[in-house]
Amino acid sequence: MTSEAEPNEIGQELDYEIEDLQSQIATLKRHLKIHATTILSADSTRQLLLRHRETLEEDSLFVSSETSSAVHDKVLSRIDAQHAHDQQCLYRTGAAVTTFKVRDPDPNAVDNGSVLGLRFEVMSKTRFLRPYYVMLNRPYPESRHLRVHRHTVPPCIPLPGLAARYLPAPSPPDATHQAKQDLLRFVRHVRREIVRYHNRAAVIGDLAEAAAAAAARGAAGGDEERGRERREGDEEEGDEEGEGEGEEAGAGTLVDVRAADPQAKQVSLAWADGRTGRLVMDDDGGVDKVVVFRYDEQDGETRRELVTGEDRRLEDVVRRVGWSTKTRTRTTSRQSRAAS
């Protein structure tokens, strides 16, 4: 038995070791690439190479000069490619929308397969996301009007509507009013919709995070309180107990915050004590409407807690959710202390 088990163990160990080494190889390869890129993009490298090449050409008596100049050409072309790529990255970092040319691989493609690509950069949580692409071509005979050919914009962004507005199909030649296209406004509007969507989704994420943090804090506060009364009891219990402690404490920690529609304009809210709510945002993240229900009845109090007076942006709601629960737990603890 043991003799059978041992090779297995050894084999497993070896497998682990191989896996480990392979991951090391991958990291080293990546490092190598990064260093190579750094060297290639340095200006001095290029100058050195050029000078070296001149000297090579001068003493062409060497046998190896031919192969060595071929290597030089390769490195130089690589440097050029690197420079082009660096410039593209720079443009992409600086400008939110960049264009590029694509060839449609379809042999039957219209307009000899030339396609204009638009690249929309999006940032979320201090990171560049994968850009969205919109490809345009010119399918109409005797007209230079553009048309959306392919795109990677998700359906929550009303691209068809925008295309119909700004990039209409050419009207027949005998029409009195010729349809005009406005690529610039199209691009601007698409980008605005994309960025707005991501901002709305991000602020809903912030609200969920604030609610979760407040709930955790509330549970911790409750725990401290209860700790004096009885030592046992985990956090979840603390949550439930908090709910039982009177109307004002509400214990109504938000337990569920999520976007309720594809465009991330509506937020559905759920509290621990069964209250449910719906919050409607306008395009730019301002709070449009809020409604909260408690047992099939409208709950104006909670609604006012969420949104009051002038602060009608979702960011304010986020702040208030984080802040109000803090004060609430404090009052709760005071109350329960008085009670005990």
Binding site: N108, R150, P154
Partner: protein
Amino acid sequence: MSRLSVPTSGRLSPTVRISNSTVVVQKVINRLSRQALLSLALDWMDEPNRALCAPLLQDYDDPNDFYPPVSSLAKLRELYRDMETRKGSKKEVSDRILEGDWRHGLSLYQLAMADVRYLHEHPTWQKWMVYRILPLAINPDLDTEADASEVDHESLSVSRLHPSSFLKNLQSQVLPDTKAHYHLHRLPELRLLLIRVFLIDTPYSNNLPSGNGSSSADATHADTSRTLYIVFPDGAPFVYISKIQGASASSGGADSKLFRNLVTDSIPKALSRPRERYTLKYTNIQGKNLQALLSMKGAGRGNAADGGWSMYADKRKESPLDTLLPTPPLSEDSSDDVILENLKRGTKRKSHIDVAEEQCIRKARRSAQARFGNSARPEDGRGVERVDISMRDPFKTRRAGERQIAEHDTEGLSSWAPEVKLTFRGPHVFAGMRLLVENGIINGQRMPGWLTGEEGVTVGEVRHGRVQGHYGSGF
């Protein structure tokens, strides 16, 4: 005995029981596997479902009873757990359920659960037709009827689904002499909402008789039932609608088509709200694989970027802050191990393989990569099983000795086009195409675009080498 039956317009309650002798119940239960039946029975006894699927519990023992009822729920649960551990036939379990513990009939809720369980086991059971939800233009001056079919192409609104109000509105669209039961369900690992609609031709919504009292008339009511599935993908303005399934053989053909039209008419009405109206438009996509449909018409980026364009939609990281030169696919550094491995295997098999042939293979693979990108891999689970294409290309004509292609096909004598229809079938049509290109059987550079799946349709007409009506675009 004088139970009052009043025609109502309400929906059927999930607790309404259907007699076990009906064809519907027999069909639904008998197609499930033994394992599924057992876990289903255990699910019925679980806390949230118990009220809607109560089993028969009795204390006394009837010696003539083949499946004597058990006295408590715990005992019953133990009985089914016991059956789970030992081997046996499916018949044993289904008989135990239908003639033993649920002999008084299965509730509509139970039936729905059983049906959905079958869909879990067989994800490609249903064939779906994909419809796009389009906003309608609202013109306050005109009568609502007159301007009903005007699609607002410039609208910026994206339809939103609120399941409970959708069902409420759908109910109001159902004909008064039919009753419906709705069941909402989320399939695991798929971002969609499944609605099962179960329709019975009866104006009454009270208990369909169970056990002894069952009259033949009521049994026929249950047997005229039809089941329909509606799928709403999350965050995307599309609806997938399944074929109507009748319980008996009689309900089929033209009748079910009529019924389907009725349903597709009522769905947009149920989705619409005051000042926000929608219509459905067929997208020329049919398929059985929900995963494939989701990638073609779902919430992601790939809706209008299939085939070779999918390289713009895949999950690769592409930050402008990354200054590393991107490696071209199929180069030495690229991580396309599978292809290289295949290449090596190929060389091993033929030891005398010459350089030219190897270059040929490489070229074919590269062109496949260019035309298909990372889509249409045999193992990606997004197979389309049938593609119908009808060719409308004008026939190539030869005039006066010189070869010339008739350009003006729309009018004139040379517009004769033979009727050619192509149907591709298989577990994954486009992956098959890709394999043919990779092996050099199809020339990747000259292959038309609709063979790569980039047009995003499964039914289409081709003219000038492009799917018609799209100017060469699936958008």
